[in-house]
Every structure is written in structure tokens, then in C-alpha cells.
């Protein structure tokens, strides 16, 4: 199971590094405006073909490139109801703080859980390889965080269920 993870991550890393070759591009439709072309989609010749890298049907990454911006959308693995709720809450939490995050997009792309938008201005201010590192680390940590939250929820539920029958503060049980 984990050997697919390594190749998956390596493929994502390679594609991201290739897609993140960005240069400034002034808008060709409005004078003196500078828009991320992958969002505006006004000039077809500067858009690159979108690439989907999937590990299985539940986990995939969509990378759409253009001359001055890259949009990375991630679909996180959600096996059951609890994970679905936790993932939804977590991504919503992050997207509300998108201003702090700079490269995060406030709404995910249709069909995915979270999206990043990286423009040439970002790559001018930050190291490209570190940006790629960040996105890869994000993908790994989100999975870990969601399963940790699920485990802590189950542990808490177990303790709560047992405590109802406790006799006293020493923890002796009432019925046996």
C-alpha cells in the first residue's frame, strides 16, 4: 500500500516542479491588468493541458498550468462518514484563513477538496523548491491529521462510555 504512496508523491513532485515555471504576463484583454491566466481562461494559447495524477479513485491531484499561474487541486481520501466530516471541517477551516496562507484558494475546484493557486508573484518572492515541498508535505500531513483526529474521537467516546458506570473518583466500577 505504501509503495504506491512513494511513486504517487514522486510523480506529483515532478509535475509540480515542471508546471511551476512561471513568468509575468499582462492581461491581453484589459489594459494594465495582471490576472492569473489559469483562473481567467481568457487567452487559450497560454494555458497548458491539465494533468490528473491519481493513486486510486478516491485520491487524486489535478494540476492545471498556464504561463503565469498554476492551480493545484487535491482530493483527500475519505473512507467513511466521520472522515468525511473531519476532512470537510479541516479544509473549510484552512480556506477561511486563505489570506494568511497566500497560496490557498478560498473555494476548491469542482470535485476536489482543496485548491492552491500559485502565481508568478509568489514564485518571485518564495523559493520554488520549497513551495513544492510545502504542497507535498501538506498532502502527507492532512491524511495523518485526519486519522489522528478520528482515533482521538474514538478514544474519547470509549472513555465517556465507560465513565458513566464508574462508582467514584477512584474509578471503581459500580457493577462488578
Amino acid at each position: 500500500m505504501s509503495n504506491t504512496l512513494k511513486t504517487y508523491i514522486a510523480a506529483v513532485r515532478a509535475t509540480l516542479t515542471a508546471a511551476m515555471c512561471l513568468e509575468n504576463f499582462a492581461s491581453q484583454h484589459v489594459e494594465r491588468h495582471n490576472k492569473p491566466e489559469v483562473e481567467a481562461r481568457a487567452t487559450p494559447e497560454v494555458l497548458l493541458a491539465p494533468v490528473v495524477i491519481s493513486r486510486n479513485e478516491n485520491e487524486k491531484v489535478l494540476i492545471e498550468g498556464s504561463i503565469n499561474s498554476v492551480r493545484v487541486s487535491i482530493k483527500i481520501k475519505q473512507a467513511d462518514e466521520i472522515e468525511r466530516i473531519l476532512c470537510h471541517k479541516f479544509t473549510r477551516f484552512m480556506m477561511m484563513r486563505a489570506e494568511n496562507f497566500v497560496i490557498l484558494r478560498r473555494k476548491p475546484v469542482e470535485g476536489y477538496d482543496i485548491s492552491f493557486l500559485i502565481t508568478n508573484f509568489h514564485t518571485e518572492q518564495m523559493y520554488k523548491h520549497k513551495l513544492v515541498d510545502f504542497i507535498i508535505q501538506f498532502m502527507e500531513e492532512v491524511d495523518k491529521e485526519i486519522s489522528e483526529m478520528k482515533i482521538s474521537l474514538n478514544a474519547r467516546a470509549r472513555i465517556v462510555a465507560e465513565s458513566v458506570w464508574r462508582n467514584d473518583l477512584a474509578g471503581r466500577f459500580r457493577f462488578g
Binding site: 462518514e81 466521520i82 466530516i85 473531519l86 471541517k89 479541516f90 477551516f93 484552512m94 484563513r97 494568511n100 496562507f101 497566500v102 497560496i103 518572492q125 518564495m126 523559493y127 520549497k130 513551495l131 515541498d133 510545502f134 508535505q137 501538506f138 500531513e141 491529521e145 489522528e148 483526529m149 482521538s152 474521537l153 474514538n154 474519547r156 467516546a157 470509549r158 472513555i159 465517556v160 462510555a161 465507560e162 465513565s163 458513566v164 458506570w165 464508574r166 466500577f173 459500580r174 457493577f175 462488578g176
Partner: protein
């Protein structure tokens, strides 16, 4: 603080202060408890501040009266009880009158007794069911609408007493967390040390068999039914009985309290995780070259760049 107390802390602390103080003072306190129950503690006569009147408003009290709550309260509070039911001179459901100058030796027990007012009122259907079961007969299905959309049922049968709660989850997240918690309640008996505890059953939307045919049950995704099965050994002694009633009547509030606590915990975890992501992202920013960096002395004055 995992367990919720079955007595009301506000009443307890108000009465304790009133009893312990040298000079009785006028009191005017309105307090709320779980399940929409409100209390008022006043000293109506300003010239005699030692007379304290505690009144409780409880929406489901008329139903409890049908199951013998009046007698229960009379037995428990004896001379302190002033009136029950809204027929009397006040609109409250139960009124107690306490004279802080004429207390028995053990003041603490009076304080605790009055603080348990709600619990004692709600204990009526349980006591009736326990007594019926011990006598070997089964009782009717007793219904108490203790909250707006939530009901609990108590029924005694030949060999057991069943208590069924219907609880509503207002939120999708609450519902799913509730499912995890309730599933653990059902599975708790796997542990050898609590094998003798009452059996808990959980049914997400369908009412359990005992409730088939009961009118007035709402059907919706957000409702869950929890059944406790109590055998005679669970209410054999006075102490066990008291304990079982206290825990089971607080069950719904206990469950929702813990659901909210775990939501708060998730929130603080997510906040911590987001902070750590931000730190990683900031590592991507290169350090400013030396001639643009702001330099400061130890006392905080900045060097000016020319």
C-alpha cells in the same frame, strides 16, 4: 470533569452562602438548569430574610404528577415543601420554603437535598417502575416530554425495567459524532470490568420494538433512540437505585456535553495544525539580503539604512 453532577450548583452555592452567613441577607436569584428548567430563589419578605423561597418551573411537571411526583417530593422534602402544581398561589411547579434560622443540625444535607430538586422530580416514573417490577407486575409505558423535541419512556416488565430516550441532533456533525459515541456505549460491555452494567441499545432512526405503535413519534434523520435495560440487581439497594436514576436522567445532557467538548477539541487541534503549516510555508520565503534587513539594538532602537 467527565461526569456531570446531578444537582444544581447554583442552588447549592446560593443556599450554602445563605446558611453559613452570620446575618441573613435578601436573595434574589434566577437560575436555569438543563432541559429548560428554571429556578428562582428569593426572600419575599424583606423584614424576615431568613425565610427563603425556592421555586422551580418545569415544563413536563404535569406529566410527572401523573406518575406520582407529588408524593415523591412530599416524602423527600417533608416540611420544606410548600406547594406543588400550578394550581396554588404561584405559577411555579414546585415551591419550597426554607427557614435558615430553623435548620436541622446537618445543614449540608438540606443544601444537597434542595439542589437535587429537579432530579427528585424526574425520579418519579423511575421509582414507580422499580416498585412495580419488584412487586412482579409490569407497568404502563410512562412518557415524559422533558424537552421540546425529545421524550423519554420508562416501562417496567416482569423481569426488567426499560428506559428509552429519543434524542435529536440539530446538526449534521452532531449526528455523526453522536453515532460514534452511542456505538461506544453499546460496545462498552465488552470490557470485563463493566460486564454487569446495564445493557445499552442504540437505534439511529427506527424506534425500538417497545415503542412500535406509540403515537406522536417524529420520524427524521436526526433522531436516535437509546434504550437502557435495567435488571433487578441494578436497583437492588437504595444507594444503587439512587445512583442509577441520577445517571440515567442526566444521560442526554451528558452525551451532548461530550459531543460539544470533542468538537471544541477538534477545533483547537486544527488551529494548531494550521499554525504549523503556516510555519512551513514561511520557510519558503528567502531571507532578505543584508542591506535590506532591519537591524535593531538590544534595547530596541533601529539602525537607519542610508
Amino acid at each position: 470533569m467527565i461526569l456531570l453532577d446531578s444537582y444544581n450548583k447554583i442552588i447549592e452555592s446560593t443556599l450554602r452562602d445563605a446558611f453559613e452567613s452570620e446575618q441573613p441577607e435578601t436573595i434574589n436569584v434566577t437560575a436555569a438548569d438543563f432541559d429548560g428548567v428554571t429556578y428562582t430563589i428569593v426572600t419575599p419578605d424583606k423584614t424576615r430574610p431568613n425565610e427563603i423561597v425556592v421555586s422551580m418551573h418545569m415544563g413536563c411537571y404535569p406529566e410527572l404528577q401523573r406518575y406520582g411526583a407529588d408524593d415523591m417530593l412530599r416524602k423527600e422534602y417533608d416540611s420544606l415543601l410548600h406547594s406543588v402544581g400550578s394550581g396554588g398561589d404561584s405559577s411555579a411547579d414546585v415551591v419550597l420554603k426554607i427557614d435558615s434560622k430553623a435548620l436541622p443540625e446537618d445543614k449540608e444535607s438540606v443544601v444537597k437535598k434542595v439542589a437535587h430538586l429537579k432530579r427528585n422530580a424526574l425520579a418519579a416514573p423511575f421509582e414507580r417502575a422499580f416498585n412495580a417490577q419488584i412487586a412482579g407486575e409490569s407497568s404502563e409505558l410512562m412518557t415524559v416530554n422533558y424537552r421540546d423535541e425529545e421524550i423519554f419512556f420508562v416501562q417496567a416488565q416482569a423481569d426488567r425495567v426499560t428506559v428509552i430516550f429519543s434524542t435529536t441532533f440539530k446538526d449534521e456533525t452532531d449526528r455523526i459524532f453522536g453515532k460514534v459515541f452511542l456505538q461506544e456505549f453499546v460496545d462498552a460491555r465488552r470490557q470485563p470490568s463493566i460486564q454487569n452494567a446495564p445493557q445499552v441499545l442504540y437505534s439511529p432512526r427506527e424506534p425500538p420494538l417497545e415503542l412500535r405503535g406509540v403515537a406522536g413519534l417524529r420520524d427524521s434523520e436526526n433522531i436516535a433512540y437509546v434504550t437502557f435495560v435495567l435488571f433487578p440487581r441494578h436497583f437492588a439497594t437504595e444507594e444503587l437505585r439512587r445512583d442509577a436514576i441520577s445517571r440515567i436522567q442526566m444521560f442526554r445532557d451528558y452525551l451532548h456535553y461530550h459531543i460539544k467538548c470533542s468538537k471544541a477539541y477538534m477545533h483547537s487541534r486544527m488551529r494548531a495544525r494550521v499554525d504549523s503549516f503556516l510555519k512551513v510555508l514561511n520557510r519558503a520565503k528567502p531571507e532578505k539580503p543584508d542591506d535590506q534587513k532591519e537591524k535593531k539594538t538590544a534595547s530596541g532602537r533601529t539602525f537607519k539604512m542610508r
